[in-house]
Symmetry: C2
Subunit: 344 residues, 2 copies
C-alpha cells in the first residue's frame, strides 16, 4: 500500500520481477486492501498466479510518526508484512512506505541479529566503475567506532550477496575528510584502527573522501547515518541539477536542439545511469530477516529492482557471512578492553 | 608560490583580476621567489605596475603538516603574506597553498575576531538558482550548537559581501537529515532553537536537506566541517562523473558524435556552471583579517576569482555585520545559561 503510487506500481513491479527472476520460484504475499490489489491483479494473470493477498484496511500513512505506527501495533499492512518474515511465511519484506515506521516496526518485530547493535540502511550508488554500496544512509544520526565497524561488516556481506559474483572480495573504505591516519574525529580514527587490526575477513582499503564515492575507489563506503544521508541527498540533488541543466542547455538554441535530437538515444541512456536514486532498493541491514525499502517515488521497474535485491539477499548466506566477522570483531573488542585494563 | 602551478598562474591571475577590478585601485604584494615571480611579471607589464615583490626563499610544501609550518614560523611566503595583513600592509591575503598550514598560520597571526570561537571555510556552490554559500567545509571536524550559529552569522555576512547586492537579505538554512524540529542530533537541534530564538538579524529558514543545496532552497547552508567537507567533495565527484559520462556518451556512436558537435557550444557553457570547484575562492571566515584560499588546481581565471572574492570582502562591512549579530548571540546565550541556572 506504500509509496506515492500504491498497488498499481507494486503489482506491476511484481509482474516485472517475475520476468527478471524467472529462473527462481518466487512467490508473493501482498498485504493491504484486497479490492484495490485484486483489481490490479485481475489485469495481470501472470502475477496473480504467484500472489496471495492478505487483506487489511489499516495502512501506515507516509507522514505518520514511527512511534505512532509502533503504538498502533498489529494489523497494518506494514506490520503484517514484517510479521510474515518473523513467522517464516516470507523470506523477505519489501515496502515503499514510511521509512521511519518501517525501521521501527522491523526492529521491534525482528530484533537485531546476533551481536549487532544498530541497523543500517544501505544505498547502491552508481559510480564510474559500476555500483558501490554506501551505508549508513539514514537509520542512525550518530555512530561510535564499533558501530561503524559493524556497518563495514554488514555492507561487505550485502555487496557480495547483491552485487558480487563468486569469489567476491569487495574493498571497504571509511569516509573521512582526509586520507591520513590522523584526520577526522575520534570515532572514525578508532574505527580505522579496528578495521585494520581486528582480523576481520574483509578487504579494508582505509579512509576515502567524498569524491571517492562517485569515482568508485572502493566497493563499500562506510559512514555514520547523518553524514551518509546528507551525502546521498546532496548527490541526488546534484544529479537532478545536471539533468535539468542538460535539458535547458539542449533546448537553448536551434543548433543545440538539433544536436540533442541527434544524440537523444545516448543521452537518455546516460541520465538513467547517474542518479543514486535510480538503483532502487535499500535494505535495512542487521535484523533477523530481510527487509528492503523501495523509494517512495519509484516506478514499477524500480520496485521490481527492490524485489530483486530482496530475493538476492534472501537466497544468499549473507547472515552467516556477517556472523563470522562479528565473532572476530567481538574477540578483538574484548582484547582491546583487556589491554586498556592492563594498561590502567 | 602555492598551488599546483605556482607563480605563472598567480601572476596571470593578478593580471586578469586587474582587468575585472578596473574600477578599483587594487595593488598586490607578491611573496616568494623574486626571480621566478619577476620573470612572469616581465611578460605582463600591466600587472608589474600594480605589484611589489617581497622576496623569500622559504616555501611551505603542499604536504607539510600544519604544525611544522607553525614551528618554522616567520619567513615563509605563506607566513609573510598573512603577516602583511596583520601589519595593515595588505587588506587581504590570497593563497593557493597548503590549506591546513594556511589555516594554522592565519589563526596564529590574526587570531579570531571578537567573540567568535572557531574559523570556518566557506564554499560558493553553484545551484539551480545561482550560487549558495556552504560552510564549514573543512576548517573543523566537529561543532557544537553555538559554533554552528556562529557559522550562520559568518556565512550570512559573507554572502552579502560577495554575492549579495544592496538590501541583501539572504536566507539561511541548517543542514539536517529531515525538516521536522525533532530530527537530527542534539547539536543541530539546539542550533535550530538558537537561530529561531536568539533575535539575530538574519533570515533563518530552518532545516534543509542534502538535495536542497543544489536546488538553491536557501542562500546560506550551515553545517559542521566534517559533513560539509564530505558533502562538497561528494558533489565535486558527482560533477566529474557527470562530465565524464557526458563525454563518453557523446562519443559513443557516430550519431551521438554528430549531435555533440552541433550542440558543443551550449554543452561547454553548461559544464563550467555545474562544478562546485568552478566557483573558486574559499575565505577563512572568523579571523581579524581577510584570508582567501584558492583551489590548488585552479587556473588563472579561478585565481582571479579568488582575488575578486578577497577584494569584495576587504571592501565590505562584513566584519561589523558579524560583530552586530555576535552581540545579539552572546546576549541570547547568557539568557539561556541564566534560565538553566534558575531552573536547576
Amino acid at each position: 500500500m506504500g509509496g506515492d503510487h500504491g498497488p498499481p506500481v507494486v503489482v506491476e513491479g511484481v509482474s516485472l520481477a517475475l520476468d527478471r527472476l524467472s529462473g527462481r520460484r518466487v512467490r508473493f504475499l501482498l498485504h493491504g486492501d484486497e479490492a484495490r490489489i485484486g483489481a490490479e491483479l485481475a489485469r495481470r494473470p501472470g502475477a496473480r498466479a504467484a500472489c496471495e493477498v492478505r487483506h487489511t484496511d489499516l495502512v501506515v500513512a507516509g507522514d505518520e510518526k514511527p512511534a505512532t505506527a509502533l503504538r498502533r501495533g498489529k494489523g497494518t499492512s506494514l506490520w503484517n508484512a514484517i510479521e510474515a518474515v518473523k513467522a517464516g511465511e516470507a523470506d523477505a519484506a519489501v515496502s515503499a512506505g514510511n521509512t521511519g515506521a518501517l525501521m521501527a516496526v522491523s526492529k521491534m518485530i525482528l530484533r537485531m541479529a546476533g551481536g549487532l547493535d544498530r541497523p543500517a540502511i544501505v544505498a547502491s550508488w552508481p559510480t564510474m566503475r559500476g555500483v558501490s554500496a554506501v551505508l549508513d544512509v539514514g537509520a542512525n544520526i550518530a555512530s561510535d567506532a564499533a558501530q561503524l565497524v559493524e556497518f563495514a561488516i554488514m555492507g561487505e556481506a550485502f555487496y557480495c550477496a547483491v552485487h558480487g559474483g563468486a569469489d567476491c572480495r569487495p574493498s571497504v573504505g571509511l569516509l573521512n575528510v582526509g586520507s591520513e591516519d590522523v584526520k577526522g574525529h575520534e570515532e572514525v580514527r578508532e574505527a580505522h584502527r579496528l578495521l585494520r587490526e581486528a582480523g576481520l575477513e574483509l578487504d579494508y582499503y582505509g579512509f576515502v573522501e567524498g569524491n571517492d564515492i562517485a569515482k568508485g575507489t572502493v566497493d563499500v563506503v562506510v559512514t555514520d547515518g547523518f553524514t551518509g544521508n546528507i551525502a546521498l541527498k546532496t548527490a541526488e540533488g546534484m544529479a537532478r541539477f545536471f539533468s535539468t541543466a542538460l535539458r535547458e542547455t539542449l533546448t537553448s538554441s536551434p543548433m543545440a536542439k538539433a544536436g540533442a535530437l541527434i544524440a537523444s538515444g545516448a543521452l537518455k541512456a546516460m541520465r538513467a545511469r547517474l542518479d543514486p536514486s535510480s538503483v532502487n532498493g535499500g535494505p535495512l541491514l542487521g535484523l533477523n530477516g530481510v527487509v528492503v525499502k523501495s523509494h517512495g517515488g519509484a516506478d514499477a521497474r524500480g520496485f521490481a529492482n527492490a524485489i530483486k535485491v530482496a530475493a538476492d539477499l534472501a537466497a544468499s548466506d549473507y547472515a552467516e557471512h556477517i556472523a563470522r566477522n562479528m565473532e572476530r570483531l567481538t574477540a578483538a573488542l574484548h582484547e582491546t578492553a583487556a589491554t586498556a585494563e592492563n594498561g590502567a
